[in-house]
């Protein structure tokens, strides 16, 4: 799938002027509230008619203001999962799910039982939306959009109205959707942790304009974008595979290019590839190999970049055998340790800092006290 967006639109004082092109998978539109993310997907869906511009999905042109061309929303076959669900209150869950069936093309593709199964909503079919929890409503809304057999699925902060526990309940379904349903997704979010877990591509939006676009890890590892991606939650992405389980101490060992990682026991078969998010604030730096230390993960590498900052805190990027790690340090520490590009250092990460929320991939659960507290 190729999505091309090139639009200019005025909404009162706000000006949207953005242009980007992305390939398939899950594309995240990331940006602060009010940066124009929702306006962008509303334009893709046809709910906003831009003042000027061009939108296309693959070779189907949806908007081309130069040719006075505009496809009505109902003819676009673009699914939309709204922030607030927007289920029809007068219909049961089953009727809601089947609403789009009349307009969808017949034949192969998403089948009812498959979608119900994927989203785990089989027990809710005869209920009415008013009797569903927030998380259940969002799952039904996702199913309803999928069953209309969209060529593209838009999701507008589908987790924003949910508490942490409900978010943890839905995220695995969205991961499954991304991996199994083979529908390209455009996902709007302001949460870097959601995006780090889900996205293959990030479109970073700021004040109605494009700030950056690229593969998720590449965008997340750029120190200069931290003010936009969210400094507090900033971190690096590491691809790792499960190497061994240590039953005696309840640990799982992962192997990445940087070296060996020890995490609280994961319920994942050996060999499975996972994506690990290591938050910058959980990484410490030492300039000599440390001993007598409780932290189990010690990874050697070179400083590849130091962020510019005049405040107390500064981010340091490391290259650990091809993997990127980011550490959040005080400017004082950076000076005291004499860090500069090319300095040989050791990154220290506590195993317990790497919890379920920092992992994505085919994981069923995680054992250990931390994980239990995390899954409340």
């Amino acid at each position: 799938m190729t999505l091309t967006v090139d639009i200019r639109h005025r909404l009162g004082e706000f000006r949207l002027d953005i242009r980007f092109e992305t390939a398939g998978g899950l594309v995240a539109l990331l940006g602060r509230s009010g940066s124009g993310k929702t306006s962008i997907i509303n334009t893709i869906a046809g709910l906003i008619k831009p003042d000027a511009g061009f939108v296309s999905v693959d070779d189907m042109v949806l908007v081309d203001t130069e040719r006075q061309f505009f496809v009505s929303p109902h003819l676009r076959r673009i699914g939309y999962v709204f922030q607030e669900g927007r289920l029809f209150p007068h219909l049961t869950v089953r009727q809601n799910l089947l609403y789009g069936r009349w307009f969808a093309p017949r034949g192969a593709g998403t089948d009812f039982d498959g979608v119900v199964d994927l989203l785990g909503i089989g027990a809710l079919l005869e209920r009415r939306p008013a009797r569903l929890s927030g998380g259940e409503k969002q799952r039904v809304a996702i199913g309803r959009a999928l069953l209309a057999k969209p060529r593209l699925l838009l999701m507008d902060e589908p987790l924003a109205s949910l508490d942490e526990a409900r978010k943890a309940e839905i995220l695995p379904y969205i991961e499954k959707l991304r991996d199994q349903a083979s529908v390209p997704i455009v996902y709007v979010s302001h949460s870097i942790s959601e995006v780090a877990r889900l996205a293959s591509t990030i479109v970073l939006v700021s004040e109605g304009k494009l700030a950056a676009v690229g593969p998720t890890a590449q965008i997340m590892h750029r120190l200069d974008l931290f003010p936009l991606t969210g400094r507090a939650e900033a971190g690096a992405l590491v691809e790792a595979s499960v190497e061994r389980h240590d039953e005696q101490f309840g640990l799982t060992e992962l192997r990445s290019r940087a070296g060996l990682w020890k995490l609280p026991r994961l319920d994942v078969p050996i060999g499975v590839r996972l994506r690990l998010r290591v938050r910058a604030r959980d990484v410490m730096i030492a300039t000599s190999p440390p001993s007598d230390l409780s932290a189990l993960n010690v990874l050697g590498g070179l400083v590849s970049d130091i962020g510019s900052s005049h405040g107390a805190i500064v981010e340091v990027r490391l290259d650990c055998g091809g993997d990127v790690l980011i550490a959040r340090l005080t400017r004082y520490s950076v000076q005291r340790l004499g860090l500069a590009r090319g300095t040989r250092v050791y990154a220290l990460i506590k195993s317990v800092a790497l919890d379920r929320r920092s992992l994505s991939g085919p994981i069923r659960g995680i054992s250990g006290a931390d994980a239990a507290a995390d899954e409340v």
């Binding site: 869906a45 046809g46 709910l47 009505s72 929303p73 109902h74 003819l75 676009r76 076959r77 673009i78 699914g79 939309y80 709204f82 607030e84 927007r86 029809f88 209150p89 007068h90 609403y99 789009g100 009349w102 307009f103 969808a104 009415r128 939306p129 008013a130 009797r131 309803r144 959009a145 209309a148």
Partner: protein, 233 residues
């Protein structure tokens, strides 16, 4: 207990009144829906003018409304003669004229109820239906219409009640002909004008109260059913 049973003439007035009110309500409903939709959703030149025009019968003296109907829909009126010539529909001094007068008088009440319920429908639900592939007509039938059912019930009951009680416009437009245009209120009025008509007037009054109560009860039950279906939180 003999005084309580209605005379044949009185029965005729009751039946006629119900027929007139039912026809006025049912025929008025589609027009009411169109006008309410235009007022609730439409943005066009003359919006306030249409709104004022619809509300007019509520404010004008009923006799004036009846006289305007006579001028427009009477045998020589521009609309009346046209309808009689091309469709064979005659209003003057017929029960159909009574239904028209009652419908016109009940129309503002019906439109008001429909408009309020249409304005209460969340347009974001209709937007959602659009993204699922439904065109405008289908969205109206499957989303908007089911959601305004309580408003439709309220509007119809209000219109029916107004039609049952309509007097001034009816008597001005189509007079007071027993068996043809003499509805309940006209019959009661006539009975109070003749010596010895008190008992008849009282009987018809009781019938009026019963019908009004039944209509209210029916609307209550239907609204409750509709609300349960919608499960308004």
């Amino acid at each position: 207990m003999d005084w309580i049973s209605l005379s044949p003439e009185e029965w005729t007035a009751v039946r006629l009144s119900i027929r007139v009110a039912v026809v006025a309500t049912l025929v008025g409903l589609p027009f009411g829906l169109l006008v309410a939709l235009a007022l609730a959703r439409g943005r066009f030149w003359g919006h306030s003018l249409l709104n004022g025009f619809v509300l007019l019968p509520l404010i004008l003296p009923p006799v004036v409304t009846g006289y305007v109907l006579l001028l427009l829909f009477g045998r020589r009126g521009p609309i009346g003669s046209f309808l009689a010539e091309h469709f064979g529909i005659v209003f003057s001094f017929r029960w159909t004229g009574a239904a028209l007068a009652c419908g016109v008088m009940g129309f503002p009440l019906m439109v008001r109820a429909l408009r309020l319920s249409i304005e209460a429908v969340d347009p974001r639900l209709e937007e959602a239906a659009g993204t699922l592939g439904a065109n405008r007509a289908w969205i109206f039938l499957t989303v908007t219409l089911p959601l305004i059912v309580p408003g439709i019930i309220t509007g119809m009951i209000l219109c029916f009640a107004k039609a049952m009680g309509e007097f001034g416009a009816t008597i001005t437009f189509v007079s007071n002909i027993p068996g043809e245009t003499q509805t309940l209120p006209s019959a009661i009025y006539t009975l109070t004008q003749v010596p010895g008509g008190d008992a008849g007037a009282l009987r018809l009054t009781i019938v009026s109260v019963i019908i009004a109560m039944l209509a209210l009860l029916a609307s209550e039950l239907m609204a409750r059913y509709a609300n349960r279906r919608l499960e308004v939180e």
